[in-house]
Symmetry: C2
Subunit: 277 residues, 2 copies
Amino acid sequence: MTRTAFFISDGTGITAETLGRSLLSQFENIEFNQITKPYIDTLEKAHALVELIESTAERDGVQPIVIDTIVDQTVRNIVAKANAFQIDIFSTFLAPLEDELETHSTYTVGRTHAIGQDDVYMHRIEAVNFALDNDDGARTYQYEEADIILVGVSRCGKTPTSLYLALQFGIRAANYPLTDDDLDDNGSLSLPASLMKHRHKLFGLTIDIRRLTAIRTERRPDSRYCSMDQCMREVEQAEALYRRHGIPFIDTTRFSIEEISTRMMNETGLQRRFSPR
Amino acid sequence: MTRTAFFISDGTGITAETLGRSLLSQFENIEFNQITKPYIDTLEKAHALVELIESTAERDGVQPIVIDTIVDQTVRNIVAKANAFQIDIFSTFLAPLEDELETHSTYTVGRTHAIGQDDVYMHRIEAVNFALDNDDGARTYQYEEADIILVGVSRCGKTPTSLYLALQFGIRAANYPLTDDDLDDNGSLSLPASLMKHRHKLFGLTIDIRRLTAIRTERRPDSRYCSMDQCMREVEQAEALYRRHGIPFIDTTRFSIEEISTRMMNETGLQRRFSPR
């Protein structure tokens, strides 16, 4: 049976959605139709949403699940009347927190991602610019300023990871593609000079050979570049290089970009450049 | 008084941190020292963490706040013994959800960002590549394939927003910088031909003139480009252009990248390309 779940907020809905997904993912044998409804911040929108929830209940033959972080009392009261199984995140946790902190909460809409975060914004922009400027080994002279330098074969996930690190943590991540020139099979396994200097900043990425073949085939079909043989040779040599030089590495096949990035932060002890409050 | 808050998980900690930040941000008059501890997945790590919590309690003179999504029962039992005000997210919500869904939850570590999300990964990679290939008006012939085309003056936030849309929603966002050539002050306010064809996909960004001046000064000090006059002229003409052609637009000064992106999705009715379960 498919159940419908609504993640509702008068802000971005990021908190309701993150928690909702996390909770529902614990129920593997149920299929969920997950719908995020951000910016439910007027009575009109609230009433329209209630109608949607009601008609969904009728269609599904069972009440939907509603997980919300609505702050506005009036809007919340309307949504609360819908025929649904409701999890009200703020009501559940704010009351006990108020007791513990011996103060009232301010219940401000979208306070988490609020305005006036000039520092956060600047750190993010600078980190994104850094990642773009130092993508694909384009500039190695800026490695001095890098927080971390991702290395790996072409198409193993360096660019999305470096951008995620920039946007999420303000981390300046450069990335350097290991090519045939770096990965000779003469067994010397030496690091390019530009990397050797910054060995302590290196973090390796590796990837399943089948996955890599598929990704490269999409990009450049019927090439030597995308052949299983070539992919295998590159990946094996990259991993040998990591082991030879004690470079920590992670398999991007097994993890999401969120996980890869969080694991990197954790293993290297890197501190985020801003803390969104 | 400063209170310390720990966001703890045996996974990435993203859920605990997102919810924790959101809850604590409702208490404006209290300063929080917020610490995320992901991957607490062994007894050793759990015991070390308890010691950290205890010593923090001693230093602060008040018990820390612990918000966790630990799934492993043994690890959770250890952390639960720490001298802290504890909010156990999964315990609070999973039991009532199990009743409602009439089934047991699986309590799998990090199930939210789990492996086997090949489709998600591919959509993200493709969207990131699209954003990079179509950054800064580099290629306009791919606008056919774009989900959305961000327009705005140089340094108003187009690139980070397009990358966030790609990583978070798998949306293919191109971006086109409005330059002096597009923004003539002859009053004609016509759109460049490459944009005119895709007018329904356009979304404008605007920015506070002071903020723009500051950002541009950082990038290219003492230039005409960064002068207050030039910034004002460009921003005013860009906004006039949006109004003239009925292009929706948003002020990036007032919102975080998360908010800008979520609002765009909401206003345009764009659907995310993947749904992380």
